[in-house]
């Protein structure tokens, strides 16, 4: 494998068997490179980009305002209270981390499984991962009562010989998320190097040449370079693979390790991982569909990609649905009065609307994906992907808030409602995410040029 750059699957043959193909026919090395690099280098920045970026920046600024006010005033500006110590903050954290999952899955696991169709979506899926993790990281830091001391969660040597408390799942979170962010960044950057060199070579502006040149780290495209590159990339893929499972497993430990009824569940790790992939793919679809329309990338992100992603969503959606079922069943089967109360309270309690909306979004709607007609309809797919995103956010909200709001002692039962600042922080992170994405689309090749070239028929010279 290491010495072969060739993809094993022949896209033209694949096209013959099951249309559509992963790349539209008629492309050559040159057209692929031209088309993708032109978005960054040659094409005039569309007005829509400015509008989109401006809007996203507005919400990013809203995030900055919210966080500043938060640091100045305290967590009390949110709706959290005593039974419900965590609410929007951790809901958003888990949601963003989950979204980040598709990137690693596409880039690492699908690479190892030699799913070449991943090639045209992996770059921005990875970028999405990074941005999602950045958004997620906002919450654990700023949800603390004294965010300026949040660094105490990091084990660093100090004169007081004080260490974090390693039994706490929050410390595991620190390790899991920071590892994940580091590996994802490396993976993404390493994958970018050959394309950065292409941009450096093609850039007309001296500034671009310098910046892309520095980022390309002296890539010349020699056989040695390719050899080492491939080795490194594969190794990173191998490193990243367990992270797909580990990150959300560890995040689920935040809940599973506690004794809160509704959190204390052994099914959480697989159920969270499936949910993460589910929401990750939904988010990739949500982003890919408009991007391919705006930048005319239907040639590269074909119906095949959309269909495959729809299928992954269907499968993970079914796993998640099974998780809901098991959760309710075990709660009843345990004969524990506290556990047994939780699903009932979710279904008929004050937050029943959230639970049933979640079931509708995550279980009912995705069943439409069984139909090929749905999977091949771009607007319907887009709508379903949005619904699944909402559903997965609701899932975290339901898990966190409905478990906490009525736990053991009825005297302490309470309710939670988000304040303006809860919403502004959440919407602000979406703004941050989109701002980073717009910058990425503008300044970096959103599709891997060199990998796209490898799936062209021309690339099969070795055979």
């Amino acid at each position: 494998m290491a010495d072969s750059l060739q993809p094993v699957e022949d896209p033209s043959r694949a096209a013959a068997i099951r249309t559509p193909a992963v790349i539209a026919p008629g492309h050559t090395f040159g057209t692929v490179t031209d088309k993708i690099s032109a978005i960054v280098l040659a094409r005039k920045t569309p007005l829509g980009w400015y509008a989109g970026f401006g809007t996203a920046m507005f919400f990013t600024l809203l995030l900055l305002v919210s966080l500043t006010y938060l640091v100045l005033t305290g967590i009390g500006i949110w709706g959290n209270n005593i039974p419900i110590g965590w609410a929007f903050d951790i809901t958003n954290f888990v949601w963003w981390i989950g979204i980040g999952h598709a990137g690693t899955l596409i880039s690492a696991i699908l690479l190892l499984l030699k799913q070449t169709w991943r090639t045209s979506i992996n770059r921005f899926a990875e970028a999405m991962t990074l941005f999602a993790v950045a958004c997620a990281a906002v919450f654990p830091v700023f949800h603390t009562g004294r965010p300026w001391l949040a660094y105490w969660l990091v084990p660093y040597p100090n004169t007081m010989n004080l260490w974090p408390q390693f039994r706490s799942p929050l410390i595991w979170d620190v390790f899991a998320v920071s590892t994940y962010a580091t590996v994802s960044l490396l993976f993404w950057f390493v994958g970018l190097i050959p394309d950065l060199a292409t941009l450096r070579d093609r850039s007309q502006s001296p500034v671009g040449r310098v910046i892309y040149g520095m980022l390309a780290m002296g890539w010349r495209g020699s056989a040695h370079h390719w050899h080492r590159y491939e080795t490194a990339y594969l190794l990173l893929a191998g490193l990243a693979t367990p992270l797909v499972v580990s990150v959300h497993t560890v995040v689920s430990f935040d809940f599973a390790v506690s004794i809160v009824p509704g959190w204390h569940t052994t099914i959480f790790p697989p159920y969270f991982v499936a949910g993460a992939i589910y929401s990750g793919f939904a988010m990739v679809l949500t982003l890919a569909i408009p991007i391919r329309a705006v930048y005319n990338l239907e040639d590269f992100i074909t119906m095949r990609h959309l269909q495959n992603m729809a299928k992954v969503m269907l499968v993970t959606g079914l796993i998640v649905a099974y998780g809901y079922l098991t959760e309710a069943f075990i709660a009843w089967y345990s004969a524990d009065r506290y556990e047994g109360f939780v699903p009932l309270n979710r279904m008929i309690g004050p937050y029943a609307f959230a639970y049933w909306a979640l079931i509708f979004c995550n279980v009912v709607v995705p069943q439409a994906l069984w139909l090929k007609r749905v999977r091949t309809s771009v607007p319907v797919l887009f709508i379903i992907s949005l619904i699944v995103n909402v559903g997965m956010w609701l899932e975290r909200f339901v898990i966190i808030v409905t478990s906490l709001h009525r736990d053991y002692l009825p005297s302490s039962w309470g309710l939670y409602s988000p304040t303006f600042w809860d919403w502004s922080t959440f919407v602000g992170t979406i703004g941050l995410f989109l701002s980073l994405l717009f910058l990425f689309l503008r300044f970096l090749p959103m599709i891997s040029i060199f990998e796209m070239r490898t799936i062209l028929p021309e690339a099969r010279v070795g055979e």
């Binding site: 005033t73 305290g74 967590i75 009390g76 500006i77 709706g79 959290n80 209270n81 005593i82 039974p83 419900i84 110590g85 965590w86 949800h143 603390t144 009562g145 004294r146 001391l149 949040a150 105490w152 969660l153 004080l162 260490w163 974090p164 408390q165 039994r167 706490s168 799942p169 929050l170 410390i171 620190v174 935040d254 390790v257 506690s258 004794i259 809160v260 009065r337 506290y338 109360f341 004050p350 906490l404 709001h405 736990d407 053991y408 002692l409 009825p410 005297s411 302490s412 039962w413 309470g414 309710l415 939670y416 409602s417």
Partner: protein, 1040 residues
């Protein structure tokens, strides 16, 4: 409006001035006069008006600036160098305790006050005082905050202008000189109930000098009907003291005798001591007939909810049942000699039953059965039974209760009559009515109001404010610049009882010398000094006045002979040290129910229809009659039963609310543990109306509303104003405690009530375990039916060996009366901040200790249980393992310690706490700026900042202080040496703390009792705080 425009003062207005500033003044134009006197309104007033309570904390800072603006206040001397000569006994860092007493409603409770370097910080009960026995109520616990309240009246004001004391002396002496030829015919003194012998002597001296002057009394917190009942029954004013220790069967007729009123702290202790199921044959039995559910009703073995007017009828039924039975019973026992208790009681029962059938017409069979059973039970316990009538019940009911007690032979055993604790018991309603009439008739030239706030508290039909304006010179001595101050010419800041010398009688007459703990913060004057100013020796200090009185140079009528002069000094010191003057308790008075008194006499026939809605006025359990309305601790204290904070409400039963189609429901913001959105209703009563929020109370009788007084203040501090509605606006003199014919009208507006616990059902979770006495005697384990606690072997790890001390706590659910003294005690001891209504609505109150209230049984009349919940100090603490920074950790003595400065505030510990006892500083709740509040803090407890989790520490500062003491003496800490703040405050002795490793300790013995259980023990958290199950002594004739 009223507080904005000051009335044109009488004495100074009409004459044309010799020197004038404007033609209008020369012309004597009233508008100009008003303008003239309003030119310099007080600065406080300018900002105090419609300030929302949520800004209370913020504004406290501003008041410092205002204190500076007022400028002329004499500040306490500041010491900027260490003591050159250390005062005797004072070791920096070690608190001193001084005995004093607090009077409320004319009855004093003895206190011990903790003082840190001259600053009183914490109030405890005085164990030597019979009315306290070391415990306190919420009002005493909260008095520290009252002392340091920055909203207190701080300067002597004349029409809003700051004046020196000498200016007032000039005015008053001129006024008195003018009165001298009239023998004081225009002089009136209005006081609250006076239980200070010295003050009474001063007033009598004044009256001796001005024979035509009058002394009026009006104390809304005192007990008008109690006095009336005694007068009716005995023809004279006497006080009833109850001996709950000797009472086997107790009937309460709408009396919250454990929860409030004179001696209630003592009564709660005596009552609880007879409730220990381990001594099942000593258990007393309490029947309660009541309207508004109270602590007493909650502890009753049988509770009957009835409209207040119906209680008089029931009392008569019981009296007549007993009267007949009593006569025949005594006759029979006289005749048959020692025929045995069983026969006697059987006969009594039979006659009671026949009598019952005859008299209990008009009541449902269930109530008739109830009456019979109670009558029979009382009859069977002649001499060891007790009937107590409630403060709100009319005098006739009190007289009936006295009659029944006498008929049952209880007098001298369970009830003792003594002369009144009040110096001058009188019909205060008539007294106030006379004053109003005199003022309206223009007979009052000088009115001196010593304490109280009659403009706010007087019955609405008296139109006291209008009448007051007709008095020519009006002087008001009070702690706050309140509604009454606004209408008076002179507002004299009153010295808080912790700042002043005085004396006071406790519920049994025991005298305590009230000694100050600190010089008056704002130069306040005590009532003694005000009365002295009106005497011929105006500059005497309160200390001299009180001391002179007791040394015998003052007048004394009913007091023991003073010790000889050379001994007086020693005695005086002893009295101050002990907090009680020995042998001053009243001896039992020999009184007989007047022969002509017949229990069937009903002075006020009820003419209204049976389904008329009745209104029941009660003093608020937290702010009383409004005098504590500016106390944030008390405002934020969840009231017993309703769990409401910051507001009063129109309290009705769920059925009545349903009839009105009004209801409350939890809002999403805060929910059951914060915000209840409910209907705003208008109460219309006798052409007056007031609007308040409706709130349902389970166990409240139908077709009846209860409203609490003390709210809806328009003036008197930033905390007080704006909270709740003013029930006094519809309270008239003929319906002081209750009346019929109120109309409740929905307004279709909504109101948010801050309620810390709206869900009172246990959901089958066994938080409170309860049983009946018989079941418990048969099988003590029966209380734990259906609950399990895992064995201590369920663990992967070896159990930690706790050597040395192993602290633990036992809380007796059977004893707890839900009075909240522990909650305020904890707040005071541990520097717990007040968060304001806005934050309570969001479910963020900070109390480390809460009193959960649960219902069991019937929906319309449930059993009520109180469960104080502090931190459980779990051995397997779920909070500890999840803290990422190790800010909460286990000590080797088993305490679950909080390290505030390590806490980053992830709130994970709180999420994982099954008891939800952790409290988070969501915002900066603590007031770091107001200097007076800083003085009141406990220096041994960290003041927490925002973003930090906190919780009960078992008062670790007290543990460590005791350990240090014991180590210096090379001995272990003795059992009982450490008392947590909650334990110390508890009147019912329901909380016991100590070392579990000492098998002889009280707590170890209690935890070894059969009815001991761990809350949520099935989680294997191994809590160190455990509970003792409740056991009710049910009358078998009535069943559960």
């Amino acid at each position: 409006m009223k507080q904005k425009t000051r009335p044109v003062p009488g004495p100074r207005s009409p004459r044309k001035p010799a020197f004038w500033r404007a033609l209008e003044e020369r012309a004597g134009d009233p508008a100009f006069q008003e303008h003239l006197y309003n030119e310099f309104p007080s600065e406080i007033e300018a900002i105090s008006d419609p300030v929302a309570r949520r800004t209370f904390l913020k504004l406290m800072g501003a008041s410092l600036a205002l204190a500076g603006v007022t400028g002329c206040t004499r500040q306490p001397a500041e010491t900027i160098v260490p003591y050159v000569r250390q005062p005797e006994d004072l070791i920096p860092g070690r608190p001193l305790f001084y005995a004093t007493a607090m009077s409320l409603g004319g009855v004093a409770t003895g206190l011990l006050v903790e003082s840190h370097e001259g600053r009183p910080t914490k109030i405890e009960g005085n164990p030597l005082h019979p009315g306290s026995l070391g415990a306190t109520d919420v009002f005493a616990q909260a008095a520290v905050l009252g002392l340091y309240d920055p909203d207190r009246s701080q300067t002597l004001l004349n029409l809003g202008d700051i004046r020196p004391w000498s200016a007032f002396l000039g005015t008053i002496s001129a006024a008195l000189t003018a009165q001298r030829p009239l023998e004081g015919a225009g002089l009136r003194i209005l006081t609250e109930s006076v239980n200070s012998p010295t003050l009474a002597a001063q007033i009598r001296d004044l009256l001796a000098r001005f024979p035509s002057a009058k002394w009026h009394q009006w104390d809304p917190a005192s007990r008008e009907h109690v006095r009336g009942g005694a007068k009716l029954a005995f023809g004279e004013y006497v006080d009833a003291q109850y001996r709950f220790g000797q009472a086997d069967v107790i009937l309460s007729l709408d009396a919250d005798v454990l929860g409030c009123g004179p001696g209630s702290i003592r009564y709660a202790r005596d009552f609880a001591a007879r409730r220990r199921p381990e001594q099942a044959d000593r258990m007393n039995r309490l029947y309660a007939i009541e309207s508004m559910p109270t602590s007493t009703g909650a502890r009753a073995d049988h509770r009957l909810p009835l409209k207040p007017s119906a209680i008089a009828r029931i009392a008569r039924e019981i009296a007549s049942a007993l009267g007949e039975a009593g006569k025949s019973g005594s006759g029979r026992s006289g005749g048959s000699g020692e025929s045995g208790g069983a026969g006697g009681s059987g006969g009594a029962g039979a006659s009671g039953a026949t009598g019952g059938a005859a008299v209990v017409q008009g009541f449902s069979p269930a109530i008739a059965k109830w009456i019979d059973a109670v009558a029979e039970d009382l009859q069977a316990h002649r001499g060891s039974s007790l009937v107590v009538a409630g403060d709100g019940q009319p005098p006739a009911v009190h007289a009936l209760a006295h009659g029944i007690n006498q008929a049952l032979g209880n007098v001298g055993k369970t009830v003792v009559y003594t002369q009144s604790v009040e110096a001058e018991p009188t019909n205060q309603l008539d007294s106030l009515r006379d004053l109003v009439a005199d003022m309206n008739a223009g007979k009052v030239d000088v009115l001196v109001i010593v304490g109280g706030n009659p403009v706010y508290t007087a019955p609405a039909d008296f139109r006291f404010a209008e009448a007051l304006n007709k008095a020519l010179l009006r002087v008001h001595l009070s702690l706050y610049d309140d509604e009454t101050s606004a209408l008076c010419h002179w507002q004299i800041p009153e010295a808080h009882f912790l700042e002043a010398w005085s004396d006071a009688r406790g519920y049994d007459g025991t005298v305590s010398i009230v000694q100050p703990l600190i010089a008056p913060l704002y130069g306040g004057k005590s009532a003694h000094e005000l009365l002295a100013a009106m005497s011929d020796r105006p500059e005497r200090s309160a200390h001299d006045i009180v001391r002179e009185f007791w040394s015998g140079s003052g007048s004394s009528r009913t007091l023991p002979a003073p010790p000889a002069n050379e001994e007086f000094d020693a005695s005086w010191r002893r009295w101050l040290h002990d907090g009680v003057v020995p042998n001053t308790a009243f001896a039992p008075a020999r009184v007989q129910v007047v022969p002509g008194f017949s229990p069937t006499v009903e002075p006020t026939p009820t003419t209204h229809a049976a389904d008329d809605i009745e209104i029941n006025f009660r003093n608020d359990p937290s702010v009383l009659d409004g005098r504590f309305a500016n106390n944030g601790w008390l405002q934020e204290l969840p009231k017993p039963i309703t769990r409401l904070t910051w507001d009063n409400a129109v309290l009705v039963s769920p059925a009545t609310a349903a009839k009105l189609r009004a209801a409350g429901s939890p809002a999403f913001q805060g929910g059951e543990h914060g915000q209840i959105i409910t209907d705003l209703v208008e109460l219309r009563y006798r052409a007056r109306s007031v609007r308040g929020a409706l709130f349902t109370v389970v166990g409240h009788p139908d077709d009846c509303v209860t409203v609490h007084l003390g709210y809806g203040r328009s003036r008197g501090g930033r905390v007080a104003t704006g909270a709740g509605f003013n029930a006094n606006a519809i309270r008239t003199s003929d319906a002081l405690s209750f009346g019929a014919g109120v109309e409740i009208v929905r307004t279709f507006e909504k109101f948010s009530l801050a309620c810390t616990q709206y869900h009172h059902l246990m959901e089958g979770r066994g938080m409170v375990r309860a049983s009946t006495r018989d079941a418990y005697v048969r099988d003590p384990k029966s209380v734990h039916e259906g609950d399990e606690t895992p064995p201590r072997t369920i663990t992967l790890y070896p159990n930690y060996p706790y050597e040395g001390y192993k602290w633990g706590m036992a809380i007796d659910v059977n004893a707890c009366i839900g009075c909240n003294a522990c909650v305020v005690g904890c707040q005071s001891e541990n520097n717990i901040p007040v968060v304001g209504k806005d934050q309570v609505l969001r479910g963020r109150e900070m109390h480390w200790l809460r009193v959960d209230t649960y219902y069991r049984g019937r929906a319309d009349n449930p059993e009520t249980y109180f469960q104080p919940v502090p931190c459980m100090q779990c051995e397997n603490a779920p909070c500890e393992v999840v803290c990422p920074v190790g800010a909460t950790a286990h000590s080797h003595e088993g305490l679950n310690d909080m390290v505030y400065n390590r806490c980053v505030g992830t709130r994970y510990c709180s999420d994982n706490c099954p008891y939800k006892v952790r409290r988070f500083n969501f915002l900066l709740y603590q007031d770091w700026n107001t200097p007076s509040l800083r003085l009141g803090r406990n220096p041994d407890v960290t003041v927490r900042s925002r973003g930090v989790m906190e919780k009960c520490t078992y008062c670790v500062q007290r543990i460590n202080a005791a350990k240090i003491d014991s180590e210096k003496e090379s001995r272990p800490v003795r059992d009982g040496e450490i008392k947590t703040a909650c334990q110390q405050a508890c009147p019912a002795d329901a909380i016991v703390f100590g070392n579990l490793n000492d098998p002889a300790s009280r707590v170890a013995k209690l935890q070894a009792e059969e009815r001991s259980y761990a809350l949520l023990g099935e989680l294997n958290t191994r809590p160190r705080t455990t509970y003792l199950a409740a056991v009710r002594n049910v009358n078998p004739a009535l069943g559960e």
